[in-house]
């Protein structure tokens, strides 16, 4: 083999190599260009695409523009106006900062950049050619702002071109990029055309309704009518956005958008926190939908992790994780079957009236009145079946304090609409499985077993949470062989493990001995659980695997301890169940994520019978 001499790469080749990292397909070009527009303070961005972006990508903005003197540098590598010093890099406010994008794109396409700052009389155009990427500056006609035109992407790198998919696929990727940017900046207008056809056109959205309309257009109108509004701030972290109800889930994770300081991010920590928040309410194998914006101090997050900036690193990973988890978890838990949830009603269901009787305050007051006695009495009631008459009397006595629910035991009166609770009053039981209830809006159908299962489960969880940790020392300790890394984690997190009731000793570089386990685990495979907990510790510095396992056990117990199908219930029993649902967290889904109730409004019923047409 001949000895090859070391040589400095030509600028174009160096840029082409860099392009390999950043410019993967037309969509990545659009991402870089749109981010530049946003960094330039544009309020309107027009994107024209031809042939899925392989023929032409033109991005025009009305931003600050680039001065004539700066233009040649704009296409040079490692040249940027966004960052000057390391201090600025550590507290980034712009989306881009590497100073590579334009150079990289220019090296694999025919790129022209036209720009006119407002304070300059004429516009100038620049393009780079040849192996040294020599720039060529010419005067041009352009309004205030910048246009970047990328033609024949990958014309000089056939290998890359071969990897491109069909025009349609490439455009779908590209559209996804535009969608994300449109979601990240409501204050900017976007338009996207493909082969001359308008695909998206969004005006700047300032009000909540406009923003929700944009999301409905970009994702799906169903998402907006099934989403909860999140707005919360704590410890320097601010989260806003929309999360889909557990019943509105998808089979793939394609409707998940998370923005950290306006930047689209797909991060393991975030994914884990969200997954954990949805545990227990999401049907097996389904993916939640969300559009969430996290804002935190720029110094608290490092975006210089990956060239495409899809990943970020949080300075205080655990804080972010716990914040996300607790806020989302609470939002999902607090969702109750009353029409007053801050769902984006105005778009999908403008007909929903602001029912007076179920205003949160009034309802909460009723809850406080008899929450305690009711909960404990119901808990013991189903265990020893009383004769029916006694049972009715019992329930009447239980619900006595509340005037609203006392009516429940009367044979369905012509109730004043203001007194009807969210889930209404039971009318009948269908085939021993479903409860039919008349609510203000129409008909509510409740899956009796699923609903009762959730109520029992939540009650058990609460009871167990209130107990102190109980532990069972082992007569024959369990030995566990694992990797040194895991054993190290067990040592450094031993106090956390102890908090759960575990007692773990390190007996060698790669072995642990479990001397004590939490009592509820005494019949489960403790070693497998410890291993998954340690894996969580290594990855996220926190773990809910133990709690999840406990909840699984409770869930099975709850399933067995709940009324089964074909058990006939009396009207007062059904009403009691409905009231229980109204005050139980997460009562919209059973333990396995199946919905517990659904509603047929009068409108929908009328439609079925062609009434009022």
């Amino acid at each position: 083999m001949t000895v090859r001499k070391i040589e400095v790469l030509s600028p174009r080749l160096a840029n082409q190599i860099a392009a390999g990292e950043v410019v993967e397909r037309p969509a990545s070009v659009v991402k870089e260009l749109v981010e530049n527009c946003l960094d330039a303070g544009a309020t309107r961005i027009d994107i024209d695409i031809e042939q899925g972006g392989t023929k032409l990508i033109r991005v025009r903005d009305n931003g600050r523009g680039i001065g004539k003197d700066d233009l040649p540098l704009a296409l040079a590598r490692h040249a940027t106006s966004k960052v000057y010093s390391l201090d600025e890099l550590e507290a980034l406010t712009s989306l881009g900062f590497r100073g590579e994008a334009l150079a990289s794109v220019a090296s694999v396409s025919r790129l022209t950049l036209t720009s006119k700052p407002a304070d300059q009389d004429t516009a100038w155009q620049v393009n780079a050619q040849g192996r040294d990427m020599a720039v060529d500056l010419t005067p041009a006609a352009h309004i205030d702002g910048t246009t970047v035109e990328v033609r024949d992407l990958f014309f000089n790198t056939p290998a890359r071109r071969k990897f491109l998919r069909t025009e349609k696929t490439e455009f779908n990727h590209l559209e996804e990029v535009v969608k994300r940017q449109a979601l990240s900046r409501f204050d900017v207008g976007f338009s996207l055309t493909h082969n001359g056809r308008t695909i998206h056109a969004h005006r700047p959205a300032t009000t909540m309704a406009e923003q929700q309309r944009r999301i409905a257009q970009l994702l799906s109108p169903d998402f907006m009518s099934n989403a909860l509004v999140i707005e919360t701030e704590r410890a320097g972290l601010k989260m806003t956005g929309w999360v889909g109800l557990p019943t509105f889930s998808r089979s793939t994770a394609d409707m998940q958008y998370f923005f950290v300081n306006g930047r689209v991010v797909r991060d393991k920590v975030i994914a884990h926190a969200v997954k954990q928040a949805y545990r227990d309410v999401l049907y097996h194998g389904r993916q939640p939908c969300f559009v969430l914006y996290l804002e935190l101090d720029n110094t608290g997050v490092d975006v210089n992790v990956h060239p495409t900036k899809h990943e970020v690193r949080f300075r205080d990973q655990r804080l972010v994780h716990d914040f996300l988890f607790s806020q989302l978890h609470r939002a999902l838990a607090e969702y109750r079957p009353d029409a007053n949830t801050p769902v984006a009603e105005q778009i999908s269901r403008p007909q929903v009236p602001q029912a007076t009787g179920i205003e949160a305050g009034e309802f909460a007051g009723q809850q406080a009145l008899h929450m305690q006695p009711a909960a404990s009495s119901y808990a013991s009631a189903p265990r020893e079946p009383l004769p029916v008459a006694e049972q009715v009397a019992f329930y009447e006595q239980v619900i006595q304090p509340s005037t609203a629910t006392a009516q429940a035991s009367a044979p369905l009166p012509e109730t004043q609409s203001s007194d009807v609770p969210p889930l209404g009053f039971a009318v009948a039981q269908l085939h021993g499985i479903y409860i039919l209830s008349q609510s203000e809006q129409g008909l509510i159908v409740v899956d009796m077993h699923a609903a009762h299962e959730r109520i029992t489960y939540e009650r058990m969880k609460q009871q167990y949470d209130n107990q102190s940790i109980q532990a069972q020392p082992l007569l024959v300790p369990l030995t566990l062989s694992l990797s040194e890394k895991e054993a190290d984690a067990a040592e450094s997190f031993s106090s956390l493990l102890q908090g759960f009731g575990f007692e773990v000793d390190r007996t060698g570089p790669e072995s642990l001995t479990i001397r004590q386990v939490p009592v509820f685990l005494h019949q489960s495979n403790a070693s497998a659980l410890v291993q998954s907990v340690l894996a969580d510790f290594i990855e996220h510095e926190t773990s809910d695997a133990i709690l999840a396992h406990r909840n699984e056990i409770l869930s099975t117990m709850a399933c067995h301890g709940s009324v089964r199908a074909n058990r006939s219930l009396t009207i007062p029993e059904m009403n009691a169940l409905l009231r229980d649902m109204e005050r139980t967290e997460r009562s919209g889904q059973c333990n396995h994520g199946r919905p517990t109730w659904t509603q047929l409004t009068m409108k929908e019923l009328d439609k079925l019978f062609l009434r009022g047409r």
Partner: protein
Amino acid sequence: MIHFSLAREQLIKPLQLVSGVVEKRQTLPVLSNVLLEVEATELLLTGTDLEVELVGRVTLSEPAEAGAITVPAKKFLDIVRSLPDDSIITVKQDSERVIVSSGRSKFTLTSLPAVEFPSIEKSSDHEEYSIPQAQFGHLINATSFAMAQQDVRYYLNGMSLELSPGMVRTVATDGHRLAMSSRQVEGLNTAEKKQVIVPRKGILELNRLLTGGEETIQIYLGSTHLRATTSDFSFTTKLVDGKFPDYERVIPRGGDKEVVGDRQTLKSIFSRAAILSNEKYRGVRLILSSGNLIVKANNPEQEEAEVTVEVDYEGPELEVGFNVNYLLDVLNVISGEQVKFILSDANSSALITDFDDDATAFVVMPMRL
């Protein structure tokens, strides 16, 4: 072609025991069958699940045709069970079918050839011991409850059987509690100590064969199998290949607090308090003071049970938690009137024995409540 007849009461008991070994759900069809073999005047019934094999022997009073065939165990047993007590049952092979008839009832069963029926390989080198059935039964009964069930530590899913000169010892543990029992057996001729682990199912099936009479049971111990024979049965089980935990280290020494109480009384107060213990993990608190034992239980609904009983105890006050099921299991197998608890502190295991019989001991770990 096999052909024999015999009285129902002669057939039903061995058939019941043999079918007990046969697993309900099978992937290998022949394993759900029972093998019938006739040689001269003897009928052999065999059932197996490849881990445990049981052969029952019945002597036929009427002349029979020799042969071998397998029939579905469950159906055959149900048929025999449903026939009147005093009926005579005739079994006859008709090409690939087997006809079972009695009086005016007739059943035609499918069959599989006897050659397909697997037999556990009998190892040739083995040692032979002879133990009185009553004693062996006692050893198993005293400890079998503590065997683990489907534990990942497979060696706990069985019972340790230890043979030493003049002595047999059984030990079982599931990692939370341990039971150990020893019995002197005269004339047990073994040169050295031998310890094997008999799987859970083997122990449970073996226990059903023991009559508790004066008869002896012959134990043949091979390297991978244990065979036990009585006059009516021959039972073979595979042994668990593993090392049983060192139980001597687990037995607490130096407990200084000795509590003696009436077994029946303790049993009833434990079960009384247990009503309000947690359904899932059954924790109860034992509070000892001079002459007195208080048993307390709480459940997640915050209901509380408190039962006090007089016991024979002198010493400082002590509070310790236990899984009440473990205590009840122990009290159920002890046969004496008085039981003795030896404790040292709230974190150390308790040693429980029959007051009059030190040869059987139980160790229960406390629970941190």
